[in-house]
């Protein structure tokens, strides 16, 4: 028991990545299995990135962007949201549980919220256990 899931976080540069940095400067502690990848805007997140991360062994994917209305490029987060719903349908069809793929809004001032989000998501995924996408695909190879 006590499986610690590996999460890949895709964070937009302006709000969410800054929010995660704020968690650091204010010394908020959170689960250490998350690996953060910076993109300029959540609108840049392609389905390929998410599928690729699952394929390579991630147990969960967390996409974070600015709150609605706050995107540095005005509406990238809306574009991301629209794509996200489709993507989630697709991953669910692949047998990936809904909880493993999340889109959340984190502002530059929400360091604490970011830390809490990571902990909460880790806990949920921990109860699901390891994501089997990589293993399954590897056996077919």
């Amino acid at each position: 028991m006590n499986y610690k899931p590996t999460i890949i976080g895709f964070l937009c540069n302006w709000c969410s990545y800054t929010g995660a940095d704020l968690a650091g400067t204010s010394r908020q502690k959170y689960e250490d299995k998350i690996r953060i990848i910076r993109v300029m805007c959540s609108g840049r997140i392609e389905p390929t990135f998410v599928l690729d991360a699952f394929r390579k062994g991630a147990d969960g994917i967390l996409i974070c962007g600015c709150h609605p209305g706050d995107c540095h490029y005005h509406e990238g987060n809306y574009k991301c949201l629209r794509r996200f719903h489709l993507l989630q349908k697709y991953t669910q069809q692949m047998g990936i549980e809904k909880e493993r793929l999340r889109l959340e809004w984190i502002s530059a001032s929400e360091g604490k919220e970011f830390a809490e989000l990571v902990d909460e998501m880790s806990e949920k995924i921990a109860s699901l256990g390891k994501c089997m996408v990589k293993e399954t695909l590897d056996t077919y190879r």
């Binding site: 890949i8 959170y30 990848i37 300029m40 805007c41 706050d70 005005h74 574009k79 502002s107």
Partner: protein, 574 residues
């Protein structure tokens, strides 16, 4: 094929990183990765010797890619890019791994933190080989400046800029200039007239030939980018367009309404007034209760709405000293009056403020301390209708205190303007959880914002007193003048680019671009990106069904190999 020679540097940040991450172990692991020519750790990478180390190694070992694992790239990416340039390498052949803000400061298990650091560095190493040389592009700076808000900060900056011969558009939503300070009678610590100070400033601003003032006006839209902004401005009659190169936001703040604090009974109990109400009274020259009589006992309560999680968590900065100012003004206007100053902590920050506290203590005043977090005083109306009673526990003596007063002055908090979100949205910047604008860096760059060409000054950033507002305003003015003097400014190079051979002309990209930077070329039947308008969000790249768009510096290859790196290390060493 190009031979990659990567130099990797792991920073200790003194003990900030090294205490939680075994930097030497990271170096050993990273050395094993393909293409890594050298890997080193160093105490302070951002220091001059740290940067020199990179420059020296690039030359000696013919490095062509650099990875630094240190603090957030939001902090020192520009520093290290500069070092690469100094060594004659394109600054974009660089990648940073954030092992301080996102590792050592947030994790507690040294083994896991070290493993994570290895992963992040491996991700950066895998990514950096896909980096391409990008060349800087420059645009001309429009020499005019837009200043939003004509309070003490806005006017000070306007004068600074206009005095050096540059044009300023000064926009104010009220019908007169002066902001908050105009409503203040005397200012602390020297108790001289605010009116005089501010009216001189207003006069100079109004008479300046290079300052164009627009009162009762608001900004409807801002478009463009540093050097070349445009805004739509409207008042009751008309809408007009302005062009300018930089923006300074100096919209100030407003008073908190204390009627939501049940204990104090503001608006319910007569003769309980706010500092703003009292200021008006002082301005008119007569201190009086509702029945017109001069009060025999006045109580002043500090931190009303400040420093309390139920209202505002922050300190409003000026209320303590303003309270001392009131004590002085009351003792000279009504020498017989007893004053009770009910404070939480006496904050006398700033030049000559502690001295003001010392001299005020000699007046006819009793200082009483209360517990601002857990035990706010309770104000009740007495049966006689003339006095109120104030009850609380005095913290220093531990006694319960009962005061009868004819008048209570609430030192109300200040709070961010209601439309800050709107303004932030127009200018493409952010607000913090209290609604104040967020500066680019709280220590190293408190006047710029994350949007190039947009600056903030005065109390719209956080509560502050007049001198501090002016300092920030003049600093912002100096920054703006520096860009104007240069005449040119570097613009985004990490733009999008269409590969014409693959583009099928579907125009999905054009429909998602927030800056209308993509147009369709009828002759070639492909889409094209205007690199001056493109801000590099990358949304078009992820929308393109043919994979024809390259989002420079955030290409699919770069991100996919970073994913490989961070995950590989995770699984290998787990």
């Amino acid at each position: 094929m190009e031979e990659y020679r990567i130099g990797v540097y792991i920073c200790w940040c003194g003990t900030n990183i090294a205490m939680m991450v075994d930097v030497e172990a990271v170096v050993e692991e990273i050395k094993k990765l393909p293409n890594v020519t050298i890997a080193k750790d160093y105490k302070y990478m951002c220091s001059d010797p740290g940067q020199d180390l990179i420059v020296k190694d690039i030359k000696e070992h013919h490095l062509n890619r650099i990875v630094v694992a240190a603090c957030s790239p939001r902090m020192h990416e520009p520093t290290f890019r500069k070092a690469l340039e100094n060594a004659g390498l394109n600054p974009y052949f660089f990648e940073m791994a954030n092992i301080r803000e996102q590792v050592s400061w947030v994790h507690t298990d040294r083994i896991e933190a070290t493993r994570k650091a290895k992963g992040l560095v491996a991700g950066a190493v895998k990514r950096v080989v896909h980096h391409k040389a990008l060349n800087k592009r420059y645009v001309d700076i429009h020499p005019a400046t837009l200043i939003i808000g004509a309070g003490v900060a806005g006017m000070s900056a306007a004068l600074e800029i206009a005095d050096s011969g540059q044009k300023v558009h000064l926009v104010e939503q009220c019908n007169q200039l002066g902001g908050m300070v105009r409503k203040v009678d005397l200012n602390y610590p020297y108790l001289n007239s605010s009116r005089q100070t501010i009216s001189q400033l207003i006069k100079n601003t109004e008479e300046h030939p290079d300052i164009q003032i627009y009162t009762e006006s608001k900004i409807d839209k801002i478009s463009g980018y540093i050097g070349n902004f445009r805004a739509l401005l409207s008042n009751h009659q008309e809408q007009r367009e302005l062009e300018f190169g930089n923006i300074l936001i100096a919209t100030g703040l407003k008073s908190f309404d204390p009627s939501i604090i049940e204990n104090y009974g503001y608006k319910r109990i007569p003769n309980v007034i706010t500092s703003a109400d009292f200021e008006k009274m002082l301005y008119s020259g007569l201190i009086h209760c509702e029945n017109g009589k001069e009060p025999g006992n006045i109580a002043i309560i500090h931190c009303v709405g400040s420093r309390n999680e139920n209202y505002h968590p922050y300190c409003s900065r000026t209320c303590c000293m303003t309270a001392l100012k009131y004590i002085n003004q009351i003792s000279s206007a009504a020498p017989e009056c007893n004053i009770y100053d009910i404070y939480a902590d006496m904050r006398a920050i700033g030049k000559d403020c502690e001295e003001l506290y010392a001299s005020t203590s000699k007046k006819n005043v009793m200082f009483l301390m209360f517990d601002q977090q857990h035990d706010l005083p309770v104000i009740k109306q007495n049966g006689n209708g003339k006095t109120v009673s104030i009850e609380f526990t005095e913290l220093l003596s531990g006694e319960s205190i009962h005061i009868q007063a004819n008048m209570v002055v609430l030192m109300t908090a200040v709070e961010s303007q209601a439309n800050n979100k709107e303004i932030a949205h127009l200018a493409g910047i952010s607000t913090d959880k209290n609604g104040f604008f967020i500066e680019k860096h709280p220590k190293l760059d408190p006047v710029a914002t994350t949007t190039e060409g947009v600056y903030i000054a005065g109390t719209c950033q956080s509560p502050k007193d007049i001198p501090d507002s002016i300092v920030q305003a003049k600093a912002a003015a100096a920054r703006i003048l520096a860009t104007i003097a240069k005449g040119k400014v570097q613009v985004e190079v990490t733009t999008a680019q269409v590969n014409e051979d693959i583009c099928c002309g579907c125009q999905c990209c054009a429909s998602v671009c927030p800056y209308s930077a993509i147009s369709y070329n009828e002759d070639k039947k492909v889409s094209e990106v205007n690199e001056i308008l493109c801000k590099g969000c990358g949304t078009c790249a992820s929308a393109c069904p043919s994979g024809a768009i390259v989002s420079k510096h955030f290409t699919d290859n770069q991100i996919l190999s970073q994913i490989t790196g961070v995950l590989e290390m995770q699984i290998e060493t787990a």
